[in-house]
């Protein structure tokens, strides 16, 4: 998909039994799905799941051979709804998304799915984007498992365990007629490791068979009175079946240790970090042999009460290692022990932080405290590691690096236009959405008030509806528009006569998630229908006032269109569609073509921008209006000036915004554009010689004048 190719990754999906797979965790999951005889796969992209979606998209021939259907769902809700195929038929299906944001969107369908239950294995792969480097709100998928009674797997973060969890997940789902979620933390998705592959399997029961012989069972549909029966089914039959399966198949793991009166209960996903913490404290070796016994929950919901009691019964104290909040597991274990009158002391978030990622240092500190209280001799055996000196007085010394628009990004000029416009018309309420354009809230633009979710930019401005004075501006990307914004935002604004400005950013891709195609993409996609114009779509839902700017870099036009939208007397929503291709993807497509043209001797011109350091006075207005990574600063070469000068580095792609800004904001004459002619033809060379000859004569005069002053 997009302009990136995943040929090498796709090859890995063909590995047969006994061959060794080397690669990323999320790709291992993709392979495991094919090995488990899955009949259909869907999902919605978003880190760390995008890779799975991209690779499957490019692996269409393999999927065809196996008879596997792959769908790029319109949203996570659509993906979850697709699992309906496993309700009536013994078909295995899997969907994937970024969590918890995707699970939020999907929860309507998930609740219905879990109510009626499934016949074929239904697996939901969630990329748990939590902790350091996360791009979303910090919540837990665990809550969704609890509320809808779906089972939650959290396997140890190594490739063999993750691959096994996929197969076990399907089996568990089938054994208990319940959809199963497989939670993978972001680092596990990106971990590079290896496992021994097995052959890919054709689905034993195909989608064609289902369509040819439909099966109906009204009791599986979530409508009263079935819904009341479903609730009882969940607790009376599905839950016990699941617990039986987990126990019998040994999904959770016990690791013994010499110090039997203590124990750690942990989420599988935290296993490696816990082992490293124990190892640092001298309580384990590099192979995971621990002095303290471990009970590893590869299934974090439901807990198996008998196992918990067995592990805890003969122990003085147990530490529950559970990342995130609220402490659902700790509360659950407390309840289990209390019911069994088990007096083992349970620690958890009294020794470990209540919130935030459980990093190595956090676990070292927590486990150390646990040992100090219950078995100080364990620590005394070893030289307790000294805490490294942490130079926290560097807070002001190290510059922050918030994410920002890429070099040459076509969205930057949109926000430059708004910034310039605000100088004329004053500040406006700006409702943001999810996507690259959300970086507008950060320096240097600092534009934006709220973001309420994907495709909800326009909806989030719907309260600000009045017919005079300053209007609210809402921003939405093409990704958000097709995800749900077209109906919940645009159509709804028409219906409610919302007097707001809706700015639609059309960059030809779902750019923030990795450049996937969308209905409005311009690329010809062999297996998808693209080129559906956004303008047609918004007019189709009733928008009367639409302006399309087909080159966002044209700052003046961009500004004029927005100004008109903000000041026109027309009622209802004013939609401005700002179009230009995502530069990252454009470069991926054009760079190889360009390089090849240069190599084969074709006359091609490329552009670059630069700044004359001797006319730049170091005010940096240009940077405050652009923020392009290639527009930077360097020490002033002038011996008298002290402020650094602006400077365009070699990563410049010649998008042209610098020049436009210099013009529109009447900044300074220091910017120049250089057009470089590669492989010039005879005429180019001739005319260039004529020009430089004349210019050289005149320049020599200036030089003579300056030479007399030199010392």
């Amino acid at each position: 998909m997009a302009e990136r190719s995943f040929v090498n990754e796709v090859k890995k999906l063909r590995l047969g039994a006994g061959e060794e797979f080397h690669g990323e965790g999320i790709l291992a999951v993709t392979k495991a799905l094919l090995q488990s005889g899955v009949a259909y796969v869907g999902g919605y992209q978003g880190a760390p799941i995008s890779h799975l979606m991209d690779v499957l998209h490019d692996a269409n021939p393999i999927l065809k051979e196996l008879g596997v259907h792959f769908e790029n769902n319109g949203s996570e809700a659509g993906a979850a709804a697709m699992l309906a195929a496993s309700v009536n038929y013994p078909i295995r299906g899997a969907v994937a998304w970024k969590s918890t944001v995707g699970t939020n969107v999907a929860s309507d369908a998930l609740a219905n799915l879990s109510s009626g239950g499934v016949t074929g294995g239904a697996l939901i792969i969630v990329g748990e984007d939590y902790g350091d480097g996360s791009s979303i709100i910090q919540e837990r998928t665990h809550a969704f498992a609890m509320k809808s009674q779906m089972w939650l797997l959290d396997p140890r973060p190594n490739l063999p365990s993750i691959v096994a969890a996929v197969e076990q997940g399907f089996q568990l789902s089938e054994a208990s007629n319940t959809p199963v979620m497989l939670e993978l933390r972001i680092r596990a998705c990106h971990v590079h490791g290896r496992f021994t592959a097995t052959d890919n399997k054709r689905p034993p029961f195909s989608i064609n068979e289902a369509l040819d012989k439909p099966v109906r069972d009204v009791t599986r549909i979530s409508l009263p009175p079935s819904t009341f029966a479903h609730e009882h089914e969940k607790v009376d039959s599905r839950w016990p079946s699941a617990q039986r399966f987990i126990r019998e198949q040994g999904l959770n793991e016990f690791f013994s240790g010499s110090h039997k009166d203590l124990g750690l209960v942990l989420q599988g996903g935290l296993y490696n970090t816990v082992i490293r913490a124990l190892e640092r404290l001298g309580l384990a070796d590099s192979f995971g042999n621990s002095q303290i016994p471990l009970y590893v929950l590869n299934v974090t919901y439901p807990l198996v009460g008998d196992e918990v009691v067995e592990f805890c019964a003969d122990k003085k104290a147990v530490l529950m290692v559970e990342e995130g909040q609220p402490d659902y597991l700790e509360q659950n274990v407390h309840a289990i022990l209390r019911r069994e009158d088990c007096t083992t002391k349970l620690h958890g978030k009294d020794m470990l932080p209540k919130a935030g990622e459980y990093t190595g240092q956090v676990l070292i500190d927590g486990i150390r405290q646990f040992c100090e209280q219950h078995a100080p001799q364990l620590l005394a055996q070893h030289a307790v590691i000294a805490k490294p000196i942490v130079f926290d007085n560097f807070d002001t010394a190290v510059p922050a690096r918030p994410p920002a628009f890429c070099t040459g990004c076509p969205e930057r000029p949109i926000f430059t236009a708004i910034k310039l416009l605000e100088r004329e018309l004053g500040a406006h309420h700006i409702s943001c959405d999810i996507g690259c354009h959300l970086f507008s809230i950060l320096p240097p633009f600092n534009l934006g008030n709220t973001t309420m979710g994907y495709g909800l930019g326009a909806s989030a401005a719907s309260a600000f509806n009045r017919t005079s004075g300053r209007r609210a501006i809402s921003v939405m990307g093409d990704g958000g528009l097709w995800h749900n914004g077209l109906t919940s935002g645009v159509a709804n604004a028409v219906y409610n006569n919302d007097d707001q400005v809706i700015l639609l950013v059309d960059n030809f891709y779902a750019a923030a998630t990795g450049g996937q195609d969308l209905p409005s993409s311009r690329a010809d996609n062999p297996i998808r229908q693209t080129n559906i114009p956004i303008e047609q779509a918004v007019r189709g839902v009733g928008v009367k006032w639409v302006r399309t700017v087909d080159r966002t870099y044209d700052l003046q036009r961009m500004k004029d269109a927005l100004k008109e939208a903000l000041t026109t007397k027309a009622g209802g929503p004013k939609v401005v569609i700002a179009q230009s291709e995502c530069m990252l993807n454009r470069q991926r497509r054009e760079k190889p073509i360009f390089r090849n043209a240069v190599k084969t001797g074709k006359r091609v011109v490329h552009e670059r921008f630069g700044i004359d350091s001797d006319t730049c006075t170091g005010d940096h207005s240009c940077i405050r209006l652009s923020g392009c990574p290639s527009l930077s600063i360097k020490p002033n070469p002038d011996p008298l000036r002290q402020d650094p000068v602006a400077h365009v580095d070699n990563t410049c792609v010649g998008c042209g915004l610098c020049g436009e800004v210099a013009h529109a904001a009447v900044l300074c004459p220091s910017f120049y554009r250089a057009e470089v002619i590669n492989n010039p033809n005879k005429w180019d060379r001739f005319i260039s010689r004529v020009r430089s000859t004349v210019i050289n004569v005149l320049q020599a005069r200036t030089e003579r004048r300056l030479a007399q002053y030199q010392f």
Binding site: S135, S258, D395, D643
Partner: protein, 519 residues
């Protein structure tokens, strides 16, 4: 029950890079290198939004395959660096070393630090209205203490010189550090197996290796007094500086006259020295030697900058020079078989046009709204001027030639008056309050740029001068002027400055209640 064995530990490597710096390529090379050299390798990263220019940590662990074979099981490798447990720390940018120190990832007992000393400035460093660059020195000092070994040089420059990317140079420096017990050949084989940009990568790798073990070269400062001129008038000016100016002032004064002649002519340089020497004499008479003639030295700097204000003539002059053409070709890396054309983005408004006209005419236009409007319509849009083509060049060249009449222009009259007022104020201050005099001199920093930027700077300058008039008897005035100047550089709409001025006006006799964090 198995015995706990702690003999073999993984080698831990953290790579701190920014999106687009090739941290992924580097970690792939290391994995490839390790897997072909008898190690089990694991790597993770958290790209997420960080791939859009944010800071990213790649983390790798290498474990000897033989030890795993003997143990009969795979090691449990961590997915994130633990403070105090990092063997090799690679930073693709210098300030990222600071981030590693903050996280406790550098320890003296084991961490080899390999860092490029070049800077990729953060957005707040770039957007500052003056100099927002963070000082790398504390980080260099602390990393030297904290690390077992600290290899750092400008790897970006090495990469560029070798037509490659920084990851290859870092890989070379890693090989040179011998922090991994592997041969150079093994490293090179990993690059070859990677298959992308192999030749330039190998070249940069090799350069990185060499430079990592080379002794640092200390730059020899060039002699500012290298005297090569035979021009009698220039010699006279230089001699005047040598004999009449205190040593501390000479360097700036020399740069000053160089600039004046470049800007105008020798007479203008003389005028500059006359103005400067009035300050020197006054400072000397008031014990200037005891504080190193700081005021005179700074006056030499700021007076030269002011007297070479950037008018249209100056811009046209600089844009058409042959050295500028050469610099552009170097900056955009034009090769000999390529032809390049340069386009300027000019936006001369009515103000700039009048500035270049004789002051009488210019003033007349500025006072006549009708003519202003008419000219305004003509200058509404910016202009693209192609300096490397004949029409564009002639236009700018002719404009640059108007230098001869510069002294008659409206802009000159205005600036001359302002400079005189500024110097007079300073001269009056020297006997009683030399500290304040320096602060006033430094206020010139505010007045820079073009168009609106220049107007805003002048407004801030003027505001501060008015505060000086209102509060001339305040004892802490020098400190307050510095605060005002910083406030003027704080934001574009002048809010910080306005707030501070209000505060001073409200509390005229005492130190302000609201202490500034910048002091």
């Amino acid at each position: 029950m198995s015995e706990v064995t702690t003999h073999t530990r993984p080698i831990t490597i953290a790579i701190l890079a920014m999106g687009g710096q090739g941290g992924g390529v580097l970690s792939d090379w290391i994995v490839n290198l390790a897997e072909h050299s008898g190690y089990l390798a694991q790597t993770t990263s958290v790209p997420g939004v960080a791939q859009r220019t944010g800071a990213t940590i790649y983390y790798l662990e290498l474990f000897p395959a033989e030890a795993a074979q003997i143990a009969g099981r795979d090691p449990v490798l961590a997915l994130m660096p633990v403070p105090g447990d990092v063997d090799i720390l690679i930073a693709a940018e210098f300030m990222e070393v600071g981030r590693a120190l903050q996280r406790g990832l550098i320890t003296a007992d084991r961490t080899t630090v390999i860092a490029s000393s070049h800077r990729v400035y953060g957005i707040t460093e770039k957007t500052a209205m003056g100099n927002g660059i963070h000082d790398p020195e504390p980080i260099r000092k602390n990393a030297t203490i904290a690390a077992k070994r600290f290899i750092h040089f400008d790897m970006n420059a090495t990469a560029e010189a070798n037509g490659s990317v920084i990851s290859a140079v870092l890989f070379g420096a890693l090989a040179a550090s011998t922090a991994l017990p592997l041969s150079r050949e093994a490293y090179e084989a990993a690059i070859r197996r990677g298959g992308v940009g192999v030749e330039p990568s190998l070249k940069a790798f090799s350069a990185g290796m060499e430079q990592a073990i080379a002794e640092p070269v200390t730059a020899v400062p060039d002699d500012p007094l290298a005297n090569q001129t035979t021009n009698a008038r220039v010699l006279e000016l230089l001699d005047r500086i040598q004999t009449r100016h205190p040593e501390q002032v000479r360097r700036n004064a020399q740069e000053g006259i160089r600039r004046m002649m470049d800007y105008q002519d020798t007479e203008y340089a003389e005028h500059y020295l006359e103005r400067l020497e009035r300050i020197i004499d006054l400072e000397h008479a008031n014990g200037g030697a005891s504080h190193d003639y700081q005021l005179s030295a700074e006056t030499a700097r700021y007076l030269a900058l002011w007297m070479s204000y950037e008018d249209t003539i100056r811009v046209a002059d600089l844009k058409t020079r042959s050295e500028r053409f050469k610099r552009v070709r170097e900056e955009v890396k034009v090769k000999n078989d390529q032809i390049t054309y340069v386009t300027e983005f000019m936006h001369p408004r009515v103000e700039e046009i009048c500035d270049t006209l004789p002051s009488g005419v210019g003033n007349w236009i500025m006072r006549s709204p009708r003519v202003c409007r008419l000219l305004g319509r003509l200058t509404h849009r910016g202009r693209h001027i192609r300096t490397t083509k004949l029409t564009g060049f002639f236009m700018l060249y002719t404009l640059a030639g108007m230098r001869r009449w510069r002294r008659k222009t409206l802009r000159f009259t205005v600036e001359d008056k302002r400079i005189n007022a500024w110097l007079e104020r300073v001269e009056k201050l020297i006997p009683d309050d030399p500290k304040l005099a320096i602060e006033v001199i430094e206020c010139q920093r505010l007045v820079k740029g073009y168009g609106d930027t220049h107007a805003r700077g002048w407004r801030s300058f003027d505001t501060i001068m008015r505060v000086l008039d209102r509060h001339s008897d305040r004892p802490d005035l020098p400190a307050q002027v510095r605060r005002l100047r910083d406030a003027g550089l704080e934001d574009e709409d002048g809010k910080s400055l306005e707030l501070l001025v209000n505060e001073l006006d409200q509390f005229p006799d005492r130190a302000p209640v609201l202490a500034s964090s910048r002091d």
